[in-house]
Every structure is written in C-alpha cells, then in structure tokens.
C-alpha cells in the first residue's frame, strides 16, 4: 500500500495541486473574487436559464468532439495531421457555398452541402498525405502549413466574390431557412450533435472492430512491422487522412448549417476548434470511447471560462491557459502515443 501511495496516488495529487495552484495564481492576477469566479464557471458551463448555457456547452462540444474524432483517426494511424483547421475551414467553405447558391429543396441542399464539405475536407487532408508519400514533406509540417492557404482562401472568397456586401462583414449570404439543421424543440440546440454522436459510435466500431481500423493502428504503433507484414501502407495513409479530413469537413458543414447559417471569416479559426480537438484526443491517449467525454470536458472549460468572464471579470482566456496546463501535466503520462513520422524519419513509401 505504501508503495502504491508513493508511486501512483502522490503524483496524481501533486498534479492536481499544481493545476489548482496555477488557477489560483491566474485568478489572483485578475484580481477576481474566488467564489464568484467558481460559481460563474459552473453556471457558464452547466447552468443558465432553462439550462441555456449547458446547451451552449453541448453545441460547442459537438464541434470539438467532431474535430477530436477527425484527429483521432489520423493519430491512431501514426499520422500526425495537425492541419485539422485547414480541413475544417475548407469544409465549412464548401458547405456554405453549396448552401447559399444551390437551388432545390432544403434537405437536398443540406445533404449536398454536407457531402461537398466532407469531400473538400478529405481531399485537403489527402493533399498533405500525398506530399509526404510522394515528395517527402513530413506530414506534421505539411498538414500544418496547409492551414494558411485554407484560411486565406476562405477569407478571400467571403471577403470578395461571395461576400454579402450589405451585411458589412466579410461573410457569405445566409443559407436559406429551409436548409438549416432543425433545432431540438423548445431549445436553441441544433441537431448537429446527432451527427457527431453517430460519428463517435462509428469511430469506436471502426477503431476497435474492423480490419482497416486495426491495420491503421498497426501502422501507428509499429510502422516497420506493418510494412514488413506487407500491409498496403500507402493506402492506409491516404485512407486514414481521407477519413480524418472528411470528418473535419463534416464539422465545418455542421457549423454552417446548424450554428452560423453562413460562413464568416475567422468563425472556424478563432475558437480554436481544431487545436482543442487535438488536445482532447491527447488527454485520453487516443482511446476512442473516451474522446467524446474529453471533448465535452474541454467545451465545458471554455464555456465555463466565458461564464467567469461575465460574472467575475476574469478574462476567458483563462480557459485556454488551463487546457494547455492540463495537457502539459498529462503529457508524460499519455501512453500509446506512437507518433510515427513526427520528424520526417518515418518515410512511408521510400
């Protein structure tokens, strides 16, 4: 028992103490009233009139979990795709353009928009994979650098050719009402969360119970072994990235059809959905069933921090800081993280 206490319990307690201490210091810097801040946090994350803030948390969790699933698919295959942001933006852009300009019944517009978004996001991710496989650009850097062209392409398209000039902002016109995702009756929560719930289930099945999912994991944990066993490594890489990017694209489409009903410059970049998704996956060491929980956890930190800002005047960036701190403390404990290809050493396909 004694040894157990020293080796397992004590580190845990000390990590919590550290995290809590940092939180206190930050609040002290902001000159905040501790009780107010905590109640503001809880209310912002889980409360509100008719639980309005809890629904906001769920809505944000939808997008974060979606991005986390996207990232998880590639991470588990040993592909450090940190370009989720670009794939998300490209997907959202495709969805918005279809949504605004395609004629036809609402459901068809939405369905087409979602498919277009998934295709666009998937191809954007595959582009990074092609650069790694056929040119030798490390995926980590290639996927990240593709964020910037995506961001500026979106910014240009909604700032110039497809701009809703009358709105005064760099954004597209509104998607017509009929093509919006319906709301749960009596709430402001849209049904996008159902897509992500379904996607979470599919992701668990894919990772745990299918041959392609198993092969992808094998490539992630032991790339040399995967290659030596004659697995089609190139296909695994491209397939995983296609799926990963497609999910990111779906998230973009859900943000457009469910939440914003148009594409506004920066709306998918500023809230750091993609980066939050990445750390949500890292927090739980890429275990598929745990990803939705950790995504919800981070969403709650963010909306809770916004609540703290409202009631106790603590800048909401405290949420971002605490997320980073948590990841720093668990970084040493994340197991099963085999990040092949991280520094370009794993050159699949040479």
């Amino acid at each position: 028992m004694d040894i157990d206490f020293r080796n397992q319990l004590l580190p845990c307690v000390s990590v919590f103490a550290w995290i809590f201490g940092i939180l206190l210091v930050l609040m002290f810097v902001a000159n905040a009233h501790f009780g107010e801040a905590i109640s503001g946090f809880l209310n912002g994350a889980f409360g509100g009139r008719n639980l309005a803030y809890l629904l906001t948390t769920l809505s944000r969790a939808t997008l974060i979990v979606g991005m986390a699933l996207a990232v998880m698919i590639s991470f588990r295959a040993g592909l450090f795709n940190i370009g989720g942001e670009g794939q998300l933006v490209i997907g959202g852009l495709a969805a918005a353009l279809v949504g605004v300009y395609m004629p036809g019944p609402g459901w068809l517009v939405m369905a087409t928009g979602i498919v277009a978004a998934m295709a666009a996001g998937g191809l954007w991710a595959v582009l990074a994979g092609v650069m790694q496989l056929y040119v030798g650009v490390p995926l980590l850097i290639g996927s990240l650098l593709l964020n910037y062209p995506a961001r500026y392409l979106g910014s240009y398209l909604v700032g110039h050719p497809f701009r809703d000039v009358a709105s005064g902002l760099p954004q597209t016109h509104l998607v017509p009402n009929e093509a919006w995702l319906p709301l749960f009756s009596g709430t402001r929560l849209d049904m996008g969360i159902l897509f992500i719930a379904l996607m979470s289930v599919l992701a668990v099945i894919y990772c745990n119970s299918t041959v392609p999912g198993y092969r992808a994991r094998m490539n992630g944990l032991a790339p040399e072994f995967a290659r030596a066993s004659g697995l089609p490594v190139k296909r695994i890489v491209l397939q995983s990235l296609l799926m990963s990017g497609a999910i990111a694209g779906l998230v973009g489409a859900l943000a457009v059809f469910g939440l914003h009903h148009r594409f506004t410059d920066g709306m998918l970049v500023q809230p750091l959905y993609a980066w939050t998704g990445i750390i949500a996956v890292l927090l739980v060491g890429m275990v598929p069933w745990a990803v939705p929980i950790s995504g919800f956890f981070f969403a709650a930190i963010q909306t809770g921090a916004a609540g703290m800002e409202r009631t106790a005047d603590v800048p909401k960036e405290i949420g971002l800081i605490m997320q980073a701190v948590i990841i720093l403390f668990v970084a040493g404990r994340i197991s099963g993280v085999s990040l092949a290809g991280k520094s370009g050493e794993n050159d699949n396909g040479h």
């Binding site: 930050l26 810097v29 902001a30 000159n31 450090f80 940190i82 650069m131 040119v135 030798g136 650009v137 490390p138 980590l140 850097i141 290639g142 990240l144 650098l145 593709l146 910037y148 062209p149 500026y152 392409l153 910014s155 240009y156 700032g159 110039h160 750091l272 980066w275 990445i278 750390i279 890292l282 800048p315 960036e317 405290i318 949420g319 971002l320 800081i321 997320q323 980073a324 701190v325 990841i327 720093l328 403390f329 970084a331 040493g332 994340i334 993280v337 990040l339 991280k342 520094s343 370009g344 040479h350």
Partner: protein
C-alpha cells in the same frame, strides 16, 4: 515594376525587418535540433517574447529592458519545455502543441489583466529600438539601404548565425551539444548528462526566440497585438527542418523568406486583394519545403 521594385530603397530597407524574427527564432530552433530536442513551440516562444518585450519596455522605460524581459520570457518558455519534456518525459510534440496554446492564452490573458485592453496595446510609453546609422555602409549602393539603419537585433542575429556556425564546428560546448543530439549514449559515457545539455539548448533557444519577439513588437512597431507571431514560428520550424540546423543555411533561408515576406508586403500597393499577399510567405515556405524535399528524396532514392 521588376528590378526597380527590388532595388527600391524602401523595399531593401524592409527585408531585414522581416527576416530578423525568422532568423533569430530559427537559430534557436537550430540549437534545439542539433541537441536532439524536437521543439516546434517556436511560435509560442516568439509570442511570449513579443509580449514580454512590450511589458519590459513599457514598465522600465527602455527598449533594452524590453529586450531583457523578452529574453527572460523566452527562457521561461524554454524552462517549461524542459520541465515537461525532459524531466516529466512528455512527448515533445504534445508539449510543443500545449505550449503554443499556453502562450496564445497567457499573452491575451495578461494583455487584458495588466493593460486592460483586448486586441492590441499601443502606448507612447513603449520604447522601441531605432535604426543604427553606420556612416560608411550608408553610402554603398544596394547594400547601404539593405543593411544600414536596422535595429541592433538584426546585426545581432547575423552575428549570432556566424557565431553559432563556429560554435557548432569548433567549440567544446558546441561539440557537446551536437553529441547530445547525435550520440547521447556516448556523451553520457564521457561523463556529461545529455539532458543537461538539452536544457541549456532550450534556454538558449528561448532567449533567441524572445529576441525574435522583441524585433516584432519593439523594433518593427511599438505595440503588441494578439497572436502577433502569426505563423512566423512555424516558418522558422521549416527553416530548421530544411537546413537540419546548420546556421549558415538557416541564414540563407531566412534571407529568402524575409525577401518574400517583404515582397508580399510591398505588392500590397498594387491592388491585389490583401489575402493574396498575406498568404505569400506561407506558400513560399510550402514551395521551398516541397522543392527541397523532392530534391533530397531524388538524391537519396
């Protein structure tokens, strides 16, 4: 346009302003690379440096204190990296991603709590570095406008590139640092703890990235803007990757990127949408990466 544009003194003058932050950060990254630390948190290091530079300059009333504070901030980030990656054995990529987010959050948080503003902080109390006029250099055509009248940080950055080249090649500590990266077991057999060397690499890297941030916030302008590093840290990471941490090549790449950066800034006046010019540095980085990777691949294949 054409050659006139490139030889225009205003354009030449702007090249070093753009290349200095990338060069300083990439040299920091190069030190880590050679010591075997995979540091892709340069973006966060620079951001903290830029913020601390404004902090030091504003409260101490001198740009020199700004530079000292920037280095201190960068070193602080380096120590955090060391704590979580070396001592607590966190994966370097995970730690890097967390530190980048940490820097983004912390700088905005402190911007709002200390200065009570969000978005940007500008104030006449922020003292910045001004250009140094070098009499003889001033009169040389092309080189004069290019190299004269820059902030001290630019001259320091070029000096640091040359010094580092010698340091890696000749100096006992430089060799030790490389051994930490290339043959850590051999190094510890020789009685030197590789982790200690890596810790010092991170400290040096932090100081250099801090100065890179100072160039952004108290030399190029006198203000701090949220997310001011704006991807330069990633460009520096690419520069390290392409050169495998060789300082003279880093210098060359930084000049190249600085050139593209200021070119994009320059052609904003020609009626192109801003997004086209803004994306140019990233596209240039991507293209350089693709071309050099393909070349490297064809050579080794």
């Amino acid at each position: 346009m054409g050659i006139d544009l490139v030889l225009d003194p205003a354009f030449l003058q702007s090249v070093p302003r753009f290349l200095t932050p990338i060069l300083l950060a990439a040299l920091g990254g190069a030190i880590c690379e050679r010591a075997g630390v995979f540091n892709i948190a340069l973006e966060g290091f620079i951001l903290v440096g830029a913020f601390c530079a404004v902090l030091g300059s504003y409260f101490m009333g001198s740009e020199w204190w700004g530079a000292v504070a920037a280095m201190a901030g960068g070193v602080g980030m380096g120590l955090l990296f060391a704590e979580f990656s070396l001592r607590r054995k966190g994966d370097a990529i995970v730690v890097s991603i967390a530190l980048n987010l940490f820097a983004a959050g912390l700088t905005v948080y402190l911007l709002r709590t200390i200065f009570g503003v969000s978005g940007a902080f500008r104030d006449s109390g922020i003292k910045g570095f001004s250009g140094i006029d070098i009499p003889l250099l001033r009169d040389i055509p092309v080189l004069g406008p290019l190299l004269n009248g820059q902030s001290i940080l630019f001259y320091f950055a070029v000096f640091a590139a040359l010094a580092l080249q010698l340091f890696f090649a000749r100096h006992r500590l430089g060799l030790r640092l490389r051994a930490a990266g290339e043959n850590p077991a051999g190094l510890s057999a020789g009685g030197v703890d590789p982790q200690r060397v890596q810790l010092w690499a991170l400290v040096l890297c932090g100081a250099l990235c801090g100065l890179a941030g100072a160039q952004l916030s108290i030399a190029n302008v006198n203000l701090f803007v949220e997310n001011m590093s704006a991807g330069r840290g990633w460009i520096a990471v690419v520069a390290v990757l392409l050169t495998r941490g060789r300082p003279l090549y880093v210098l060359f790449i930084a000049v190249l990127f600085g050139f593209v950066d200021s070119l994009s800034f320059r052609i904003q006046g020609f009626g192109l949408p801003q997004q086209f010019t803004d994306v140019m540095p990233y596209l240039a980085t991507l293209i350089a990466l693709i071309v050099l990777s393909a070349w490297h691949k064809s050579k080794t294949a």
